[in-house]
């Protein structure tokens, strides 16, 4: 299923994002970041539905949170999203 991965720098930041998004009704899930998506090793990702990207980023910005990178997954490949 089409979804967005917000790559974050730590598990703590991922948890903070998950809760921040949950407060405004945007469901998300935390995953270990796929190795191919992080050039730093051992990262975390917060997954949201693609249609939630804009409100999610707005809410995260309000709370001073910024993902390191953003990827869209169509079920097969990851494509970086530039915002």
């Amino acid at each position: 299923m089409d979804h967005i991965l917000l790559i974050v720098r730590s598990i703590t930041q991922a948890q903070r994002m998950e809760r921040t998004l949950g407060q405004v009704g945007i469901p998300s899930q935390i995953y270990r970041a796929p190795a191919e998506l992080t050039d730093r090793g051992c990262g975390y990702a917060v997954s949201i539905q693609s249609k939630q990207l804009t409100p999610a980023l707005r809410r995260l910005q309000e709370m001073g949170l910024r993902p390191v990178r953003i990827y869209q997954n169509d079920g097969k490949t990851y494509k970086e999203v530039r915002v």
């Binding site: 720098r9 930041q13 090793g41 051992c42």
Partner: protein
């Protein structure tokens, strides 16, 4: 045993703390190390502990709440981040060795010690004002003295530090869980605290609240940015190398919840009432010097005393023989004793927790009386 050494470690913990520790032993691995239930449970517990501590101590983000082994560990990080060789530092005359020993390791540091008698916050504040105006580049102050229980004017000292744009480190070892601790309101660079005293967590836990960039004192695995040999630049990972003490963190979370549910006012009020009562009994006893002030205005549940003709360590042992636990000697704070004029004798320190009761204070006093007079009170 009747325990009056909570200044060192609270011995009686809420039952929820013991349960949380036991549960963690069997269910939690390490946070940030895997996507399986035992790691996720540890992640959830660690995050919740940071988040609830951030709320209690007014930290802007859970990420700025760092787990440490104890307050000493946190103070070492804070001091070694801020203080460089040759810098001028102002400290209160009531600092613990956890502050003075790390400072002692930094070459050519110039330390101005603000001497003021215990329970004289205005004099302490005036001393900080003069030292800051004289060019001090960093300030360190404990919130409450671990020897005398005197409450320092930290809020006012923090305001001075902001005025002079000098970073402040607060040692909240004796106040966390008892008095309001306000990292953002104070504008302090760091606040360090143990988990095992007023927060009722297990030994081996502590928190460093950060509002400043940090240097590391320990390097290693963090479960993040693993390709690089440099420690991550972001908190809390930057300061949390190695496997987390999840038993401790789970217990600390339960302890913080106990404190929040009970309320700081209820805890502080209870401890103060007991200690004021103890002071009133001790002050009636001839030959005792009790370090307190009428009205108990700026004192927590900590009380020091000496007995003429009685060595404090012997008094501590004799009390222990009667089932009363107190701390005697210099309490790892020779500077505080020097400032108060008790360096040569030390003191016997009585310190309370929320779990002490008035009848225990009576039993403590009966024992003191018995030791001094060689007979019982009644």
């Amino acid at each position: 045993m009747i325990y009056f050494d909570s200044c060192a470690t609270t011995l009686e913990k809420p039952e929820s703390v013991a349960q949380a520790v036991a549960q963690a032993l069997h269910t939690m691995s390490s946070p940030g190390r895997g996507h399986y239930p035992a790691s996720q449970k540890a992640e959830e517990t660690a995050y919740q502990c940071r988040a609830e501590a951030a709320e209690l101590f007014h930290v802007d983000s859970p990420e700025n709440v760092v787990f440490t082994m104890n307050a000493t560990h946190g103070l070492n990080i804070a001091i070694k981040t801020l203080i460089r060789p040759g810098m001028h530092v102002v400290i209160s005359g009531y600092e613990h060795n956890a502050v003075t020993r790390p400072l002692h390791t930094i070459p050519q540091v110039v330390v101005t010690v603000v001497d003021a008698p215990p329970f004289e916050p205005a004099q302490m504040l005036d001393g900080f004002r003069k030292a800051l105006a004289g060019g001090a580049q960093a300030a360190i102050c404990n919130h409450v003295s671990n020897v005398f229980g005197c409450i320092q004017p930290v809020e006012e000292i923090a305001a001075l530090c902001r005025e002079f744009q000098v970073p402040l480190i607060v040692d909240a070892s004796q106040s966390a869980g008892i008095l309001p601790v306000d990292l953002l309101g104070w504008g302090a660079a760091f606040v360090a605290m143990p988990g095992h005293k007023g927060l009722y967590g297990p030994q081996g836990t502590g928190l460093l609240l950060c509002h400043h960039e940090t240097d590391t004192v320990l390097e290693g695995g963090t479960g993040s940015a693993s390709k690089f040999q440099e420690m991550p630049e972001f908190l809390p990972d930057r300061l949390e190398a190695g496997t987390h003490n999840m038993l401790g963190i789970a217990g600390l979370l339960a302890g913080i919840r106990f404190v929040r549910q009970t309320g700081l006012n209820a805890i502080a009020g209870h401890e103060k009432d007991l200690t004021q009562y103890a002071a009133s009994l001790l002050q009636k006893e001839e030959g005792l010097t009790v370090y307190t002030r009428p009205g108990f205005a700026c004192q927590t549940g900590v009380l020091s005393f000496t007995a003429a003709g009685h060595d404090v360590e012997e008094m501590g042992e004799q009390l222990a023989d009667r089932g009363i636990a107190v701390r005697a000697g210099l309490q790892c704070a020779p500077l505080a004793h020097r400032t108060a004029g008790t360096l040569e004798t030390g003191t016997v320190r009585f310190s309370t927790s929320y779990f002490n009761r008035k009848a225990q204070v009576d039993a403590f006093f009966d024992s003191v009386h018995e030791i001094i007079r060689g007979n019982t009170r009644f």
